[in-house]
């Protein structure tokens, strides 16, 4: 059973005060997240990531479509006891302390009274909030609020968590801790669905990712599959200070530093470059395949989207 099945969820907002105009935030989205995976939901600003999460949480209502979460209709109230949600830039009742807030949320999520206090302590430890006893949330820094937000999402030990930009506002240590936490959740058999635009995080953490742009899904798959689909390149390094004209002619991207030249060429031109270097009696130092990053894939997807959008207008 998949953890999340999004079946054509679509959202069109109406904007404007007097004359309402439709504003499409999400094209009908089809997406399945398997049980037990860490799934990254990637996209640039305004892509529709938050909109998708808000639809799934029932905070906004879809124009069309539906979803299933943990095998049940997404509007089914019993689903809510088994999911956790971290909103982007979370904000909480600022007259409460972190302990009081988590205690209250524990009550609402039905965490039994006798475990609650202990669980609250445990979660605060886990998200790295120590010595905040008696401090009202209005005095918390941005990163501390983010940690409270992560804490409240995992408080009731949900089977499935939704994080909207979990790394935002965190220091390097914090990011590290959140990455570890997500891996820990996966290890416990939980499913993690998170949105981000930090691609390196997605690359190291995710089993699979989806890329969304302008409210439309542009690609889904395992990180390795996506990145290998981008044409491979190799990096050739030799000793010297000049780039032979025939290599330039191949369209290589060259950088000269001190006594070395670094050229990046397409994989199928590798042999041609080596031949030229041999002929020119240059000393070859290294040839390494360039691992295309998720970023390259991402950028390419968005660029392609732009050009097709341009041609249809």
């Amino acid at each position: 059973m998949p953890a999340i099945e999004i079946l054509g969820l679509e959202k069109i907002y109406s904007v404007g005060f007097w004359r309402k105009r439709p504003k499409r935030a999400l094209h009908p989205l089809e997406l399945t997240v398997e049980d037990g995976e860490i799934f990254g939901f990637l996209g640039p600003n305004g892509a529709g990531k938050t909109t998708t999460l808000k639809l799934l949480m029932g905070l906004v209502f879809p124009t069309a479509g539906s979803a299933r979460i943990l095998g049940r209709e997404w509007t089914d109230p019993s689903v809510k006891a088994q999911i956790g949600f971290l909103p982007e830039q979370p904000y909480f009742y600022d007259y409460l302390t972190a302990h009081e807030l988590l205690e209250y949320y524990g009550q609402l999520s039905g965490v039994p009274g006798k475990h609650r206090k202990q669980r609250v302590e445990q979660v605060l430890q886990q998200v790295g909030l120590r010595g905040v006893q008696g401090v009202q949330l209005r005095k918390f820094s941005k990163g501390m609020l983010q940690r409270v937000g992560i804490g409240q999402a995992i408080l009731h030990q949900p089977k499935l968590v939704f994080f909207d930009e979990p790394m935002s506002g965190l220091d390097p240590m914090g990011r590290r801790e959140v990455r570890d936490l997500m891996e820990q959740l996966k290890h416990e058999g939980k499913t993690v669905f998170f949105s981000t635009h930090i691609l390196s995080d997605a690359e190291t953490l995710c089993d699979r990712v989806a890329i969304i742009h302008q409210g439309e899904l542009r690609g889904v798959g395992a990180v390795e599959d996506l990145t290998s689909s981008v044409q491979g390149k190799v990096e050739v390094i030799w000793q010297g200070t000049q780039v032979p004209a025939s290599i330039k002619a191949l369209g290589a991207e060259c950088h000269v530093t001190a006594d070395r030249v670094r050229a990046i060429v397409a994989e199928n031109q590798q042999d041609a470059v080596i031949d030229i270097l041999r002929r020119e009696r240059q000393r070859l130092i290294a040839i390494t395949p360039v691992r295309t990053s998720l970023e390259a894939y991402f950028v390419e997807k968005l660029r392609r989207a732009e050009t097709t959008a341009g041609s249809t207008v």
Partner: protein
């Protein structure tokens, strides 16, 4: 479900207390003791009358102002600040949230009224040095005032579920003022003809009829309150508040959060 409503209500109460809403009691105490001292110096005959009149009117006005000022923000502020996201993503239904908020605010007002009532009785004792049986009528007046608060709370919540705090305040205050003159409006409706008759009748029955809840003057003159009026007002307040709350729930159930 009941426990979730109760948790939301108690958190609402806690918010009011931490926002120092109960500090209004200090202003109330100052006002009342000032008045008691002042009237204590003029006349023995009317001092009791003045203390009861002034005290109860102040209880009612302070409460209504609090009900409106908290009530108008109960829903819209939570949407604006997005504190609702992490509440509604839990097993909390939207109607439970509204009903919990209502009881939280109503509870705040009951507690507030309780302390103010102590103040009124203390002032009364200060000027007349004893209690008489007729003073129990003050309790009836206080009960009616609390019923009035329930209606105001529910209306403030209703407005808060679809409009901004400022507009909600304007609506709620207008309804409170018009409702206080509901009797006059009904009389006018009886005399008017044609379209204005129908408009006035419609308005007269739509606005909360607060005239029926105001027994301050009559009890100050030690006139008894009919048992039937107590029953009638109770039913009216419960019905009116329930309707307004249902309206708030209906609107809120279908609302996209910002």
């Amino acid at each position: 479900m009941r426990t979730r409503v109760a948790h939301i209500a108690s958190n609402t109460f806690r918010e009011a207390v931490r926002d120092r809403v109960l500090y209004n009691l200090i202003a109330f105490a100052l006002l009342l003791s000032g008045a008691a001292i002042l009237v204590g110096q003029i006349s023995i005959e009317i001092e009791k009358l003045v203390v009861i009149n002034l005290g109860l009117t102040a209880v009612s006005l302070f409460g209504v102002v609090i009900a409106i000022f908290i009530g108008i923000g109960l829903v819209s502020k939570e949407i604006e600040k997005r504190t609702l996201y992490t509440v509604l993503s839990r097993p909390v239904r939207r109607w439970e949230f509204i009903v919990g908020k209502f009881f939280g605010l109503a509870g705040t007002l009951v507690v507030n009224t309780f302390f103010m009532a102590i103040g009124v009785f203390a002032a009364l004792f200060y000027v007349s040095h004893k209690f008489v049986r007729a003073d129990a009528l003050i309790l009836v007046a206080l009960y009616f005032i609390v019923l009035e608060f329930l209606i105001v709370c529910s209306l403030a919540l209703l407005f808060s579920s679809f409009s901004s705090p400022l507009l909600s305040a304007v609506f709620a205050f207008s309804l409170f003022v018009i409702g206080s003159f509901a009797e006059d409006l009904r009389n006018f409706a009886g005399m008017a003809h044609g379209l204005s008759h129908w408009l006035a009748t419609g308005a007269a029955y739509l606005v909360p009829n607060f005239s029926a809840f105001n027994v301050i003057t009559s009890i100050a003159h030690e006139q008894p309150v009919a048992g039937q009026l107590i029953l009638q007002n109770t039913l009216y307040a419960v019905f009116y508040a329930a309707m307004a709350l249902s309206g708030a729930v209906l609107i809120f159930e279908h609302r996209d959060l910002k």
